[in-house]
């Protein structure tokens, strides 16, 4: 029943697909109930946001924005030769493009506020990335990051120490303590046989990793698989299929609107927009609540290639699609009735030294680790969320390795997929893989790591030097999980999605943002220049005063006898270059006639005696025998 006058809204199939009903994010019902992201701020961390564009300006949040490339508060993108800095603006449009303005398109959370952090358009270091992840983190609720390490099928990289610390700090202290929500795109390395478990942003437990599917629900050519993918949503596919319609910049060749936004870059902002809708109905959802609701509500659907497997807790996961398609109606109704999950519990195994050779396929190296009840007693960990494995492996060709992890239930996760492009001889050094496929399963039991060498070289084999298992989860029991699943299914009718129903929601912590006021270099330069100028003139005037005092002292000494002006060199005198300050004094003689001694007033500051006047009127001789009437001298 929702109608918008935005000219491209009918082409926005991801919002409401008339051609293939159901192939959309199922958001119109949520909009009908006035859930539009009101009160939530989403920040696009990218190459800038052109916030002056009609579709973005009314929803733009300058308070949540910053430009880390130019170090100023305005994240406007800078045109460049490749006409490439429209990326952030397009992502922003997907999230919060303003409806019914007869311009271009509509955003998923068109009632939310949109901010921009410009960080990709210039040299990027760990410290800049760390600043970006926590920038205005009490204002920005959701950080949408459609970027990552190279998707070339041979890179193993992710946030380093600082970036990890910032992500962790964000989930602990961001958003009044409920935790910043970091949404990342899983990667576009599909054509290079890449896997997003080699991307530390995607396989971080602190991020919501979003993959893409095309309008037919299939994994597009560019998409990557991975065991740490939470869910997918729509984006462009191959040439025959439609891409995402969204706002564009209007610089260079931009028209303010595009029908060509694609890649996992286009999927992540849609997920960020749907999370904004969730936070409107339930602002006190923690970062883990959001991840849980995605796991509980993402929908599996028919796709022969997807290789869906249902785990012990009843959740179906696919390396291609995560737990399935995001569905705004399901996400928002679940958020409405969701009560927070228990605190995060974790278990870390000792570093398990193996130093075992990795045989060629079809043989495999299998190592086990048993997590006993005693091991878990301290943390209380009962059911799983993320499972991480940190490995050190030597091998002459890293891409030939295949790593699989089996949880106690037998659920298999391909955590390290072979990569035909990766010929790096450096192996893995404390690299952490992770999986979400065991979500909700019991934590106790035997974990099996199976490593194979699928390369075809028969030369030296690889060695598994050591590995370490880390379990993340909570005290929830399998029964608690089943109860929650039932509660959510009962909410999917929408019966709670009205203002009359709302669970208590704590207000969150008052956490001061420490960044205070940073003086921008321009301001600083101005201040310094003004300061120098002030100092110079102060010194000058002090000198001036001092010298004039001195000459006044000298002239008052004249009162008692002939004046002896300070010795002036003949040469200087002849050349007329002598400079001295002669006080402009008015002296009244007996007749009250004012006479003025000293030269005419010279330019301010330089009192240069007029030679002519000087010779005729040297400073007044005050004859000693005058009655004791004090000579009046006014200077």
């Amino acid at each position: 029943s929702v109608h918008f006058n935005d000219p491209k809204y009918p082409q926005q199939w991801h919002l409401n697909n008339r051609r293939s009903p159901g192939r959309d994010i199922n958001v119109t019902g949520v909009w009908e109930r006035n859930v539009t992201g009101r009160g939530v701020t989403v920040v696009v961390v990218d190459d800038g946001v052109e916030h002056t564009v009609q579709d973005i300006a009314p929803n733009y949040s300058p308070e949540g924005s910053y430009d880390l490339n130019s170090n100023d508060p305005d994240p406007m993108p800078h045109p460049d030769v490749e006409n490439g800095n429209h990326h952030g603006t397009r992502c922003a449009g997907e999230i919060a493009a303003v409806p019914n303005n007869s311009f271009c398109a509509v955003g998923v959370a068109y009632g939310s506020r949109i901010a921009g952090i410009r960080v990709l358009d210039g040299p990027l270091t760990d410290s800049m990335e760390a600043v970006a992840f926590n920038k205005h983190y009490q204002i920005n609720d959701i950080y949408s990051c459609s970027w990552g390490p190279d998707d070339d099928g041979k890179t193993v990289d992710g946030p380093h120490q600082l970036g990890k610390a910032a992500l962790q700090h964000g989930v602990m202290a961001g958003r009044q303590g409920f935790g910043s929500i970091f949404v990342v795109a899983s990667g576009n390395g599909g054509q290079h046989n890449d896997n997003c478990n080699y991307d530390g942003y995607a396989n971080s437990i602190y991020t919501v990793t979003i993959g893409a599917v095309d309008e037919e629900g299939r994994m597009p050519f560019y998409a990557e698989e991975c065991a740490s993918m939470l869910a997918v949503t729509f984006s462009g596919g191959d040439k025959m299929l439609r891409s995402i319609v969204t706002t564009d910049w209007d610089l260079q060749r931009g028209t303010g609107c595009t029908e060509g936004h694609t890649g996992t870059s286009a999927a992540a902002p849609l997920a960020a927009g749907m999370i904004a809708l969730m936070l409107q109905v339930r602002p006190c959802l923690t970062w883990r609540d959001v991840q849980h609701i995605i796991v509980f509500t993402a929908t599996q659907y028919e796709d022969r290639h997807a290789d869906w497997v249902t785990n012990e807790a009843g959740f179906s996961h696919s390396h291609q699609h995560g737990f399935g398609l995001l569905n705004a109606w399901r996400l928002v109704n679940a958020a409405k009735v969701w009560t927070s999950v228990p605190y995060l519990a974790s278990y870390v195994s000792p570093v398990i030294k193996e130093n075992k050779a990795i045989p060629q396929t079809p043989s495999a190296l299998e190592v086990l680790w048993n997590v006993s009840r005693t091991d878990l007693e301290m943390s209380g960990l009962k059911t799983l969320e993320h499972v991480a494995v940190t490995v050190s492996i030597t091998h002459p060709r890293r891409g030939s390795l295949e790593l699989k992890l089996f949880c106690p239930s037998g659920m298999m996760s391909l955590i390290g997929a072979p990569r035909s492009m990766d010929s790096d001889p450096g192996g893995f050094s404390d690299w952490t893989f992770s999986t979400v496929r065991c979500w909700g399963e019991r934590a106790r039991g035997v974990y099996r790591l199976v490593v194979r060498d699928v390369g075809d070289e028969s030369l030296h084999v690889g060695v598994l030097q050591q590995w370490q298992l880390t379990l993340y989860g909570s005290v929830w029991s399998p029964v608690d999980i089943r109860d929650r699943q039932r509660l959510l299914e009962s909410a999917m009718s929408g019966k709670y999605l009205h203002d009359g129903f709302s669970l208590p929601c704590p207000p969150g912590l008052k956490i001061p943002e420490e960044d205070g006021y940073t003086i921008t270099p321009n301001t600083l330069k101005t201040l310094v220049l003004v300061g120098c100028f002030t100092i110079f003139w102060t010194v000058y005037y002090m000198l001036e005063m001092y010298l004039s005092q001195r000459s006044v002292a000298a002239s008052s000494a004249c009162g008692r006898g002939p004046c002896h002006w300070p010795h002036r060199s003949r040469k200087a005198k002849e050349e007329g270059t002598e400079l001295e300050s002669v006080p402009l004094c008015h002296s009244k003689d007996l007749g009250g006639v004012e006479t003025e001694s000293g030269g005419p007033p010279a330019s301010p500051g330089l009192l240069v005696p007029d030679p002519l006047v000087q010779s005729s009127k040297s400073a007044p001789d005050c004859p000693p025998d005058l009655p004791q009437r004090r000579e009046e001298q006014i200077c």
Binding site: N71, L124, M128, W147, G148, D157, N188, S265, A268
Partner: protein
């Protein structure tokens, strides 16, 4: 001036180090931590540009302007590494490198 304005204002092209300092029990004030960071940066021949974002105890030290020659740069690097590696206050430090990140 170019380096001022906090870690946001990266020192494009110059060497820089991220440093995480041990914060002492009695150290409530950010101020004293900042002063220790200033002193440490000076000892290492660098300039402390301030705390990195919201990360308590994390500071960005940059190479002072004016060291352009490769030889000088290497000398700055060695001096800084020697000073930071052995300092009891330093929990960890890492020289900042450019990250390769691509839009998706």
């Amino acid at each position: 001036l170019a380096g001022a304005g906090g870690p946001e204002a990266q020192h494009p092209g110059g060497l820089s180090w991220a440093v995480h300092l041990h914060s002492r029990a009695d150290e409530r004030e950010e101020k004293t931590l900042e002063q220790r960071a200033d002193a440490l940066a000076q000892a290492a021949g660098l300039v402390n540009t301030g705390r990195i974002g919201e990360l308590h105890g994390h500071y960005l030290f940059v190479q002072p302007a004016g060291h352009g020659q490769a030889v000088e740069v290497e000398a700055v690097r060695q001096r800084a590494e020697a000073a930071l590696a052995g300092h009891e206050d330093v929990r960890w430090h890492s020289e900042q490198r450019l990250l390769k990140r691509t839009k998706r």
